[in-house]
Subunit: 415 residues, 2 copies
């Protein structure tokens, strides 16, 4: 059906159109709308681009382990493919996965029926769906920063305005100024976006802080979207399986949408599988939004999720034990370098440390990749509150961390 | 970290909160925002629910073949999993898939560089991303109906208003009233959403119609989002591989966002893999939106997409040949039934036929599933213009179609 005379872009380019251009709109540039153009692009990608052509780079800039997904999870997906599980599924996910998630969440955080659980196409997709559920144009959102940019930018796509409340940094590392946050949560606020354990700082919200925020939000009818994708990457007392969650405190039917993901605790970043725990009254509307966003997560990916939940506990525990070793190893090595101020946080998989000379952390990280072959994420990528810091993902073995520290050390010595 | 005293919903339910409820917002219901509650839910699901408990149902209601994805595509995904391809990919997709898509699209529709191609997490996800790129609150969108509800509902999630321009139905089946459509495309219109070959009607837009619409939209600076996921399911002259596409007429740098999917032509519904062809100037902004929606499609799913494109042509051609047989078989069988007015369209995989007594097609389809074990989609699911019709997906073998027709025949005879 291709018509060669017409398919050439020269013939039918805007300039060559045969009809006169008369409408007002035709003069407008061919571009995305202003709100989308104003969204932040990834500074990490900007740093990576600065390293284009550098042959030998040690990258610690992404929030991803260098380890492949455990074999038993990959085999579960391959098995589902072999069985022919290649069809659409229910918008909210296949029932066995929702049931497995309900059991898993109930065990960690108290009774959670499957009717309160929905499967999503990644944790970030869960954040987008949560935002679509509750915020529209003109709504006020508050986010606690420094923060993975996605939580701040997503509400803007929907026309909402986002105010930030900053964590403080001091002797005890990153901490919450509770009074400041509650003050920012004015009665006209629609939604609080909060991420604990936190990317990039590793900050973990305490149960008392969660209780105070929850009670304040209850009083004013403010929704909480809690991004808890790092809950299992928590370095607490022996036997503690998870960081404190809003789910430990809230009923399942109040204004809390809890977002989680298979990416971190099961090494499944490239699978794009996540979930939401939310009030039952939202589920029909959430199902519609899933339909209009991705319709469902891939069927064989969902099957692998069941196996990850049912057989993955030992693997997750071993991962967290390894991460703790890597964290301590990297922190000890960094602490020896001049101009480095590093604190050891209790969660996530990053050290977010202060570095002398990083007043422009983006420029510094570009120089590091070009001149030292070391890939770090600039603190400014996580909001202005992160300026002066850099983020190092330590989800790899200590030898690789040592090689990176060696590069940083040499770079700092040359300055 | 779980605190048993606090995790009980009874202790911390809204009613039992210790702090007094004083804010205005707290009195508001715990519910999704109005715009989301107003979104249409699936009438097909409503029909399916009506059949709950009916043991023997022949379902033709979903837009999905009953055949599993070809083995060589499933094996490609399993191979990628075995190789350990389980990490994040570039937001716009892995380069080899974008290159393979560029070659494929170029072959069908003229030169299309990979810089104009982006991978998405399903065709519907591509529609959502396209809408996010160009429309926000208050924008005017026009959609040609009857239509898969997703194209009409997606802009509403972003606060846009959607007007519909209806196809006409007559002796030649469903046809476009071009004058009516151009009149609906007022200069203040931001976006036209159009789907050809069309779900549910099978209507295929002619090249002349596409040219007229394109020229009109150029004059007024109106964006076109062309949903062409059924382009290969086209029953034209021998040797014609695809329905006419806006890509055949437009340059790659004008206001056209063309949406496609692996779901239909490669039997990959459950994989959630699609793509966008769009002006290069949009690609940075599209990359940001992908980051904030799903970040990327699963890596091993993208690998399977490459294999589908490079080795799938024979399989797609055989599929289309089979679908043509099924279409003709079903149309001939239906034409013999009393009260059925069926026309044979040139595209997609549905017969959208008029049925006496289907003035309330939702009620009729519920009765059909309950009383005859026959699963059809009500015409009203595709907008008021579809009322009086029902949709039958014929993507299965003729024997199964016969069994369905037999059930319909018996039901009609009993009435």
């Amino acid at each position: 059906m291709r018509d060669l005379d017409l398919s050439s872009s020269a013939t039918f380019s805007l300039n060559a159109t045969t009809a006169p251009v008369t409408g007002a709109g035709a003069a407008a540039p061919t571009a995305a709308r202003d709100a989308v153009r104003a969204l932040r692009s990834s500074q990490i990608r900007e740093v990576a681009n600065a390293g284009f052509g550098v042959a030998d780079i040690l990258p610690f800039w992404f929030g991803e382990s260098d380890r492949v997904t455990p074999a038993f999870i990959r085999e579960a997906a391959a098995g589902a493919l072999a069985r022919g599980e290649t069809f659409y599924t229910h918008n909210l996910g296949i029932a066995p996965l929702r049931e497995a998630l309900a059991r898993y969440v109930s065990e960690l955080h108290g009774a959670t029926p499957m009717e309160n659980v929905a499967v999503t196409s990644a944790g970030v997709n869960a954040l987008m769906l949560a935002a679509q559920l509750v915020v529209g144009a003109g709504d006020r959102v508050v986010a606690v920063t420094p923060l993975w940019p996605n939580l701040v930018e997503i509400p803007k796509i929907l026309g909402a305005t986002v105010e930030t409340a900053a964590l403080g940094y001091g002797e005890r590392g990153w901490t919450l100024d509770l009074e400041k946050l509650l003050k920012a949560l004015t009665p006209d606020t629609k939604l609080l976006m909060i991420n604990s354990p936190n990317n990039p700082t590793g900050w973990v919200m305490t149960r008392d802080e969660q209780r105070a925020v929850l009670e304040h939000c209850r009083r004013h009818g403010i929704w909480i979207v809690a991004d808890e994708v790092y809950e299992r990457l928590y370095y607490g007392e022996p036997g503690e399986r998870t960081a404190s969650s809003f789910l430990d405190l809230a009923s399942r039917e109040e204004r809390l949408i809890c977002v989680n993901s298979f990416s971190k605790a099961w090494l499944m970043t490239g699978w794009r599988l996540g979930w939401i725990v939310a009030p039952r009254v939202l589920m029909d509307d959430l199902g519609k939004l899933v339909e209009y966003n991705t319709s469902c997560a891939p069927s064989f990916v969902q099957q692998a999720g069941i196996v990850a939940l049912e057989q993955g506990e030992a693997s997750t525990r071993a991962l967290v034990a390894n991460l703790r070793v890597s964290r301590d190893h990297l922190a000890a090595a960094l602490a020896k370098l001049p101009g480095v101020d590093v604190k050891v946080p209790h969660g996530a998989m990053y050290l977010f440390f202060k570095l002398e000379g990083a007043q422009n952390s983006l420029d510094l990280c570009k120089a590091l990749v070009r001149e030292a072959g070391l890939g770090l994420a600039p603190g400014s990528a996580f909001g202005p509150q992160g300026e002066g810091f850099v983020r190092w993902c330590y989800a790899c073995d200590p030898a690789r961390l040592d090689a990176g520290v060696e590069r940083l050390s040499r770079y700092l010595a040359r300055r």
